[in-house]
């Protein structure tokens, strides 16, 4: 069993990002789904890394490949119909080569995942306390009583009121926010090094969303967990992440520290998304302003253009965009997949 630091210093005291050994390092990840018409590439050339105690946001629209990416990291894609290639190294260990049995030892222990809809992830026929205790027993051993105690303790830690009673409830007795707290308690019960949260608050109301995001931040500061937060919501990303990867049509098109993404985006797609956000903007003389739009829609998997995948919707396109642009450094700690960087030069 790998030694695990129970208490890590708060992220402020961690070494600088470029010095730290990344907790997880993903290189050139690709996912092909086998279909009757041949393989369809849903995720292409995705490289990411997350350090301990930090949060990477993956933002993208439906069909951008963000959820497939997170499932591939967990080894949760069906081996029969999905081919995963590239490299996923967790603490220096290659995950893509591991057999299913070894992955099962990691999942729920070293890596955990929270999904969007807690009701479909919880077993309706078991009490929530038993479901958390099961994970603890599976990975930590010990007796059932100790695992139950740990389950109750976890429920208390995630802010479930009267946890001894709630642990005996079945999932349908709990509200959406409480169920998501149970999911978080389960995911964190074995002190994972990495937590992958796929749209963890999308199904929740805003006041509850604020509570859950606050809770995730608190638990991260206590335990130094690395988090990958998958979301379509740029505002949630802005308030919770250290780094951001923007995905479009199966590729990461831009990767940068969170402030840089919002202050000086280096990919036209990111720029368009930021402009299209409905926001509390000033109204000129009572007239309702039109929202800026990104024209067109995301290309389908089977009709992906050969060059830049955003070229069909991009006002900055040039002849060269017919060739696929590589992911290239565009500043300290940031990369972009665009021939026209630096974009700032275009507005001069």
């Amino acid at each position: 069993m790998m030694p695990r630091a129970a208490v890590l210093p708060p992220p402020d005291f961690l070494p600088e990002p470029d010095m730290a050994e990344p907790l997880i390092e993903v290189q050139n990840l690709a996912v092909d789904f086998l279909s009757a018409e041949g393989p369809l590439r849903a995720v292409d050339d995705v490289s990411l890394s997350v350090e301990r105690g930090r949060t990477l946001g993956i933002v993208g629209e439906s069909g951008s490949g963000k959820s497939v990416t997170s499932l591939a990291l967990m080894g949760l894609l069906p081996r029969r119909s999905a081919r995963v290639s590239g490299s996923v190294r967790l603490d220096g260990r290659e995950l893509l080569d591991l057999p299913e049995t070894a992955l099962r030892d990691l999942r729920g222990d070293v890596i955990s995942m929270i999904f969007q809809e807690p009701m479909t992830s919880l077993n309706p026929a078991y009490r929530v306390g038993d479901q958390i205790a099961e994970a603890v027993e599976r990975h930590r051993g010990g007796n059932a009583a100790a695992a139950w105690t740990r389950a109750v303790e976890m429920l208390r830690r995630v802010g479930v009121p009267s946890p001894e009673l709630r642990a005996r409830d079945y999932p349908h007795r709990l509200s959406g926010g409480m169920r998501q707290r149970v999911m978080i308690a389960m995911a964190l019960a074995c002190d994972p090094d990495l937590l992958i949260a796929d749209e963890p608050t999308t199904a929740l109301d805003v006041t509850i969303q604020a509570q859950i995001l606050h809770l995730m931040g608190e638990l991260q500061r206590e335990a130094g967990t690395g988090i990958i937060l998958v979301s379509h919501d740029l505002s949630v990303i802005a308030e919770t992440c250290d780094e951001v990867a923007v995905m479009y049509a199966g590729q990461v098109v831009e990767r940068a520290p969170v402030a840089a993404i919002f202050e000086a985006p280096e990919h036209p797609y990111t720029l368009g998304l930021l402009g299209a956000l409905p926001a509390r903007r000033a109204r000129a003389g009572g007239a309702r302003q039109r929202l800026p739009v990104i024209p067109g829609t995301v290309p389908q998997l089977h009709e992906m253009p050969r060059g830049c995948r955003f070229q069909g919707r991009c006002p900055f396109r040039i002849a060269r965009c017919a060739e696929p642009p590589p992911m290239e450094p565009v500043g300290p700690g940031r990369e972009s997949r665009c021939w026209r960087t630096p974009l700032e030069a275009l507005a001069a």
């Binding site: 629209e61 439906s62 509200s175 959406g176 409480m178 109301d205 805003v206 006041t207 509850i208 969303q209 604020a210 509570q211 995001l213 606050h214 931040g217 379509h232 919501d233 740029l234 505002s235 949630v236 802005a238 308030e239 919770t240 969170v258 402030a259 993404i261 919002f262 202050e263 000086a264 985006p265 036209p268 720029l271 368009g272 998304l273 930021l274 402009g275 299209a276 956000l277 409905p278 926001a279 509390r280 903007r281 309702r288 039109r290 929202l291 800026p292 739009v293 990104i294 024209p295 829609t297 995301v298 006002p315 900055f316 396109r317 040039i318 974009l343 700032e344 275009l346 507005a347 001069a348």
Partner: protein, 355 residues
């Protein structure tokens, strides 16, 4: 407010039976909507915001006479329309159309886009049979679809295009008011802005009124002239969009505004704006429903239901006993303002110009 309102609802209440005894007699009821009044003027957008279970969708359906209210009345242009016969209601329903959240389940998969949009023309006998195809083409163009797409089935369209079909279908009935129930919640950001712009364009061109139901304050800010905030079946605050969203009075509105994430990079500090869960709507707390989560609650809040009235200083009406004595709300966190260079770049992008 002397101009006749397109829709005026007075004292609407609705409860649903959620539990019955052995003999089928109701034992438990949930008050989905509790004594709510509102009105929507011509060319006006009234946004209805609140969290799940607050009764906003039930209210929207009562306003359209899709659900009969237990108490209260609905007037259209000053004419009472609730409690009428089915035949009369058909006219009312033509004038008030509904756009649903999920364009995937709102369209019959076995009908083509053209048939779907043409159906209201036939049902209400608005256009002679010979002219229907031309009218369908016109409607499709109005919502940004190409007329030749009329022969396609819903599954051949993207989510945004399907929502355009739903809107064209609503327009076909020549309504005066459209109840939009979370019309863009299922759409991606880049498509969402296209649909919101379409709704604004149609409003200006056709003089439509909207009752716009949404949980997304960014979208509401973009669309609303006035905003009503609901909590557990009651309106707790109503006023102009600027009053309600920029200087909220009711503690619940404050919590809602403060909870909404903002596109401004930087981690939030401090505790979340409101603790605790929504109480069960089957047994809502007495007095002010919000007192269980309210940081300002006192004894009176547990006993008496506060009236929905404006404070001494005027402005939005708030259902709070302490509407005049609460400390001023913290101003909402503004979204990041783009630097001049970024603003120029955004303008170039959205203008579609190629630098």
């Amino acid at each position: 407010m002397s101009a006749p309102q397109v829709i005026r609802a007075e004292g609407l209440s609705k409860s649903f039976v959620v539990g019955r005894d052995l003999l089928g007699r109701p034992t438990r009821r949930v008050r989905a909507v509790d004594d709510v009044s509102l009105s929507v003027g011509a060319r006006e957008t009234l946004a209805l915001v609140g969290e799940s279970g607050c009764g906003k969708s039930t209210l929207g359906r009562m306003v359209m006479c899709l659900i009969p209210p237990d108490h209260g009345t609905v007037e259209m242009h000053g004419q009472p329309v609730s409690h009428r016969s089915e035949r009369d209601l058909r006219q009312v329903r033509r004038k008030a159309q509904l756009v649903f959240q999920d364009p995937y389940s709102a369209l019959n998969p076995r009908m083509t886009a053209g048939q779907l949009i043409g159906e209201p023309l036939m049902l209400h006998d608005l256009v002679p049979r010979a002219d229907r195809a031309a009218r369908v083409a016109e409607l499709m163009e109005a919502v940004g679809l190409a007329a030749p797409q009329a022969d396609r089935y819903p599954h051949e369209f993207s989510g945004g295009q399907r929502q355009r079909i739903v809107i064209a279908r609503a327009l076909a009935a020549e309504p005066e008011i459209i109840v939009c129930d979370e019309p863009v919640s299922a759409l991606d950001v880049s498509v969402q802005s296209q649909i919101l712009n379409l709704l604004v364009d149609l409003q200006e061109r056709l003089g439509l009124s909207y009752l716009f139901i949404s949980h997304d304050l960014g979208v509401v800010q973009q669309m609303a002239d006035r905003v009503a905030v609901m909590y557990l079946g009651r309106i707790v605050e109503i006023g102009t969009a600027a009053e309600v969203l920029d200087a909220p009075r009711h503690p619940y509105t404050r919590a809602l505004v403060a909870s909404a994430p903002v596109a401004r990079p930087g981690k939030r500090r401090g505790s979340p704006p409101v603790e605790g869960d929504l109480p069960s709507p089957v047994a809502p707390p007495p007095g002010c429903h919000f007192h269980t989560r309210c940081p300002f609650a006192e004894d009176i809040c547990r006993r008496e239901v506060p009236a929905l009235i404006s404070g001494e200083a005027g402005g939005a009406a708030a259902a709070c006993h302490f509407r005049d004595s609460l400390p001023p709300a913290e101003p909402p966190r503004p979204a990041a303002t783009p630097s001049p260079a970024l603003a120029r770049l955004m303008t170039a992008f959205h203008a579609g110009s190629v630098p």
